[in-house]
């Protein structure tokens, strides 16, 4: 009786229909909170306290707008971003983008396995155990599972991010002060503050998220009639991403910032939390890092395999077997093997690799965004689903800001 009533309630509110479409946006968004993202937010909180929380509002907005366009392109054209670039811009542009994309993603994948290794070491498990095991799980789930299973698996992982929300509440922040700092931000004009701001934006809006989101929408087979639900998915994903980030900053901002602890990575943050907030807090933080790295270790190889298959016209899809989609699963496998393999090498210069990946992503993002806006406004592809004039003004303005920021980030990181 109660179940019956509940079901009616859900059907009436179309909640079931929405839930069926939810997935790609949430996963893509959360994958933006990867090992590098967690590190950045931890550092932001530790250095600036609540001083940069206001920027998260800006990031939510940017992410929502961009993710929505990706989802819309996937739903309306039934093609991935790689497909559209190849068909509309030809071999040259495609090859340039894919080269940058593969290198950027490879380095980020390495960083994710580094995140897995670091967080597991906080639990006392050596990287020679944790990295091969997690690499195998990542490989096995996608190669053997079907799309539905893989998506559910990744949504469950996405829910583990809420450990950061718990950490944030446990820190017991002065909420009034937090609200005041968000409402009346005291923007400083010094170099450190500005650099942190750009890095935060750069780590949250990344090309692989857009590639993954659009390809996953296509692989899932979301139809045009379901577009309005796919839009929710994109918005929910963007909101959730920044929501989690907010609590990470809150946690380190409340505990580490007043203590004046200097950290350089997410595992530093977890270690620093232990004496100040107790082992439980530290473990939650480490678990969050493990989880974030693990999810991104799925999404990055997948996004690359989708992108390459689309660009060269090979069969792709999580439902496919190795004999049906050899290149797709081949690249997926290769990425995991290389990503995990490099972490096994002793004394790997991780900082340099991270710097390299940040640089390539910085070059790639403006190109991807400009191409995205050209595609989304192409009536022969999008029909009536092209951007409205108001949307175009907003997106172009935002894209110009993002481009300026990434260029500044590139310039400053080369200067320092």
């Amino acid at each position: 009786m109660v179940i019956e009533r509940l079901k009616q309630f859900f059907v009436k509110r179309r909640i079931l229909a929405v839930l069926a479409v939810i997935g790609p946006g949430v996963i893509a968004g959360n994958a933006g909170n990867d090992a590098g993202g967690i590190a950045t937010y931890s550092i932001v909180g530790a250095r600036e306290g609540y001083g940069l929380l206001w920027a998260l509002l800006l990031i939510t907005f940017a992410l929502a707008v961009i993710q929505e366009m990706s989802a819309r392109m996937g739903v309306v054209t039934g093609k991935g971003f790689g497909d559209l670039v190849r068909e509309q811009f030809g071999v040259r542009v495609t090859l340039a983008i894919m080269t940058l994309f593969v290198f950027a993603n490879l380095t980020v994948t390495i960083a994710e396995f580094a995140g897995i290794a670091a967080s597991m070491e906080l639990f006392g498990i050596h990287k020679y155990v944790s990295v091969p095991v997690s690499a195998f799980v990542v490989w096995f789930v996608v190669v053997k599972g079907n799309f539905k299973q893989v998506e559910r698996f990744m949504i469950v992982i996405s829910l583990v991010y809420f450990t950061y929300v718990v950490s944030g509440f446990m820190a017991n922040p002065p909420w009034k002060e937090v609200a005041r700092q968000i409402s009346f931000p005291q923007v400083r004009m010094d170099r450190d503050y500005f650099l942190l701001f750009i890095t935060m934006v750069g780590t949250t809006v990344t090309p692989y998220m857009q590639f993954y989101l659009q390809s996953a929408v296509v692989d899932k087979g979301v139809r045009v009639e379901e577009y309005s639900y796919a839009r929710y998915d994109a918005y929910v994903g963007a909101f959730m991403t920044v929501f989690i980030a907010f609590f990470i900053v809150l946690c380190t901002g409340t505990i580490l910032h007043p203590a004046g602890v200097i950290i350089d990575s997410a595992e530093d943050a977890a270690k620093a939390l232990e004496p100040l907030a107790g082992p439980f807090s530290a473990h939650l933080f480490a678990l969050g890092l493990l989880n974030a790295s693990f999810l991104a270790a799925f999404v990055l190889p997948l996004a690359t395999a989708y992108g390459l298959s689309e660009a060269f016209g090979w069969e792709s899809g999580i439902n496919k077997t190795f004999s049906e989609a050899p290149q797709f699963l081949g690249f997926y496998t290769a990425f995991i093997v290389i990503g995990a393999g490099i972490i096994m090498i002793p004394d790997i210069p991780l900082i340099k690799i991270m710097f390299f990946s940040q640089t390539i992503n910085g070059i790639l993002l403006p190109i991807v965004l400009v191409i995205m806006l050209r595609l989304v406004n192409d009536r022969s592809l999008m029909g009536d689903y092209v951007n409205s004039r108001r949307m175009n003004i907003i997106t172009w303005a935002m894209v110009l800001v993002l481009i300026t920021l990434t260029v500044l980030l590139l310039v400053t990181s080369f200067l320092s």
Partner: protein, 421 residues
């Protein structure tokens, strides 16, 4: 019908300037429209863009269409801007870079380039290039890529799908469907997709030679690299091949046969007429780079007691069959060389004079085993057009003409470049 030379890949002409009859640039070639034509869609017009203006130039107004020049029979002022109908199929816009799927809808690959060729006198879309070579060509680095890969011992081949294995073109094409399934395509796999995807040119050149008459074929063959000559002869029917070989000068024929497997060469010689066969057989026995290998057995030989008048009459009869008529060789009844006579001294002599009275003797000769460089130097030193080759008994065996050795006399850069197809 515009002059259309060989096959052309679309990427080789895309964005090339299109000239009018006066040589003025009309604009750049941006696309090509195709119409019906089963299975090969034929080219109907060129889309030429100049700034914001678009011209549609019907195919029958095209004068030249090749990698270097595209020209039109009209003047620029005669053209008026056109609007492209939605139903038109534009190959760059609608076909290039599109997805190819098998009959079950499984994605295979994308169209990297398109090949145009002649089908029954109409220029048509004949194949989709799906290989790495097509991608390199699109990037404009085909030659460099080929060189680089050849260092790695990888031969860069064209991987093509003949259009007869693809669906007919239609407006608003979203993807191209292969008429076979992926499994079947995979079975036809030896090189890449075997039958479907074939290197067209090898077959085509044999087909071209098959369609020529024997004399033209013999002449055309003469212009090619010996290894290519051998390939072509090898591909032809034996009867046709032996006919062509008969038409060729014996030394050339011997060169071609020398590049063939011995059994095959012997088979062809047996099919040739007896006289020609003997000549070729004899030449084959000599090393290729000696006077014996270079010489031809066709020359003018007359007995010493013939009159000038008779010799001229005889010359008229025999001249068509020999390579050079500038020297007449005087031999005895055992074919021993006695002397030589130039054409000039023959025609200047009185009709009743005997040849032995005006011939030059003794004279310079070459032995059968003289090295080719020595032969070249000999001809150069004595300013000859041809030199006689004799055996140890002074029996005349043939002549080496200047054109057989001119390559060794010139500096390397100006040597005649033989063409490959």
């Amino acid at each position: 019908m515009p002059f259309f030379a060989g096959d052309i890949f679309v990427s080789e002409v895309h964005r090339k300037p299109v000239l009018d009859r006066a040589g003025e640039e009309i604009g750049k070639l941006t696309d090509i429209t195709v119409g019906q034509g089963d299975p090969f869609p034929s080219v109907t017009a060129l889309v030429v863009k100049s700034g914001k203006l678009t011209y549609l130039i019907p195919w029958d107004q095209i004068n030249l269409f090749n990698k270097r020049v595209i020209s039109v029979n009209l003047l620029r002022d005669q053209l008026s801007p056109a609007v492209i109908e939605p139903a038109e199929v534009l190959i760059c816009r609608d076909i290039l870079d599109k997805q190819i799927v098998d009959i079950n809808g499984a994605k295979l690959v994308r169209v990297n380039d398109l090949k145009l060729g002649d089908v029954n006198g109409r220029v048509s879309l004949i194949a989709a290039d799906i290989g790495l070579r097509g991608i390199l060509r699109r990037l404009g680095v085909e030659a460099r890529g080929e060189r680089l890969l050849s260092v790695l011992r990888y031969r860069l081949q064209n991987v093509l799908i003949g259009w007869h294995y693809l669906q007919p073109v239609e407006p608003k094409l979203n993807k191209l469907t292969l008429t076979v399934s992926r499994q079947k395509a995979a079975q036809l796999h030896p090189a890449d997709l075997a039958e479907i995807i074939s290197e067209v040119s090898q077959k085509e050149r044999s087909a071209i030679f098959g369609s020529l008459d024997v004399e033209t074929a013999a002449e055309a063959l003469h212009e090619l690299e010996p290894s290519v000559q051998a390939d072509i002869i090898d591909d032809m029917s034996k009867e046709k091949a032996s006919d062509i070989l008969e038409q060729m000068p014996p030394d050339e024929a011997a060169d071609v046969l020398g590049d063939l497997p011995e059994a095959k060469a012997q088979e062809l010689i047996n099919l040739m007429e007896k006289d020609e066969a003997e000549d070729v057989q004899e030449l084959l026995e000599h090393e290729e780079d000696t006077a014996g290998g270079l010489m031809t057995t066709e020359y003018l030989a007359f007995p010493p007691d013939m009159t000038v008048e008779d010799a001229i009459r005889e010359l008229r009869l025999e001249a068509p069959d020999v390579e050079t008529v500038y020297y007449l060789y005087i031999t005895d009844d055992q074919e021993r060389l006695l002397g030589v006579l130039s054409l000039k001294s023959l025609i200047m002599a009185r009709p009743e004079t005997l040849l032995q009275d005006i011939m030059r003797s003794p004279m310079k000769t070459l032995s059968l085993d003289a090295e080719q460089m020595d032969v070249a130097e000999f001809i150069s030193k004595y300013n000859l057009l041809a030199a006689p080759v004799v055996d140890e008994n002074m029996v005349m065996r043939g002549i080496v003409t200047v054109d057989d050795v001119v390559d060794f006399l010139l500096p390397p850069a100006s040597r005649k470049k033989r063409r490959k197809i």
